[in-house]
Amino acid sequence: MTDAARFEAFVREYQDMVFGVALRLLANAAEAEDVSQTVFLKAFERFAEIGESPAVAGWLKTVATNTCLNHLSRYRARWRLFSELQRDDASEGEPLEAVLMAPVPATVDVDMEAGDRQQRLECALQRLPDHQRVPLVLYHFEDKSYQDIAALLNVSLAKVKTDIHRGREALRKALTTDHGPA
């Protein structure tokens, strides 16, 4: 098997995992795809070292997480200045749960209760603001401790706990509030 074929098999095996980490952290499919490509290019540069390593999944997750955090702090904050600030002003005063309870896009399995519930939760997660969603994802999906998250995000431990608590509350409301027909 050639190196290119081996690397293609490698990407095929781990692409869902890397994309999943990026999508949960960034809540944007296009940006998650860009970040995933960056992560795999980094992996390609070190493929001789990591290709056969049993720790490669952990390495990929770490690189994906760091690349996402870097992306969020470097690019999205600048973009926010020109776009989201206006939106934030416009939605000022609107309760977060109202935003979370907004109708979700219809899908094939929207009539299935479990599927609907999961879709609502996924949608609610993606609608959380960055500063709540990122620590929440790191805690619940990446199994990071509060201290690790505080160190990763360069914020205080208290802020991490507060943001995760508020994010959970918002998700809990999204899960428990009765909703009308989609």
């Binding site: 995933s36 997660l125 959970r168 899960l175």
Partner: protein, 156 residues
Amino acid sequence: MDPRETDDAVHRALRALPPPRAPHTLLPRVMAAVAQQQNAMPARPAPRTWAAWPVLWQVASIAALLLLSTGIFLVWPAVWTVVRSYSATAWSFAAPRVLNLAAGVSAVATLGSIVWNVFLQPIVGYVMVWILLMSVACTAFGAALGRVALGGASQS
């Protein structure tokens, strides 16, 4: 509901979410980017040690080294004699010019010293204060810009 139960319920619900699937476009994108990267940086052949050279090249390199050493050993005394004679001639030719150049440099240095003492020294203090004030203003502006535009605001 107990807050811990709430946390556990949210945790279970989140962990039960199906993992996102990568889009079909990701794999071709990655492979295309890898191919582009490989084309941009053509692979250089790995350097080979002398022991890995073909025997013919090894023999030739030893012969070339011996030839070079012998040539240097035989020719060096004659070269050294020529170099010594030329260096003596060159120094006798260049010495007066070097002295003239040194005198010129000394004159320019004296002129520079006079200009400094008369024109620049009285105002250097004010210029330094002005530079300091401008630096402080730029730093404050940069910090404010970073806070508002480049991410500081999103941390709050």
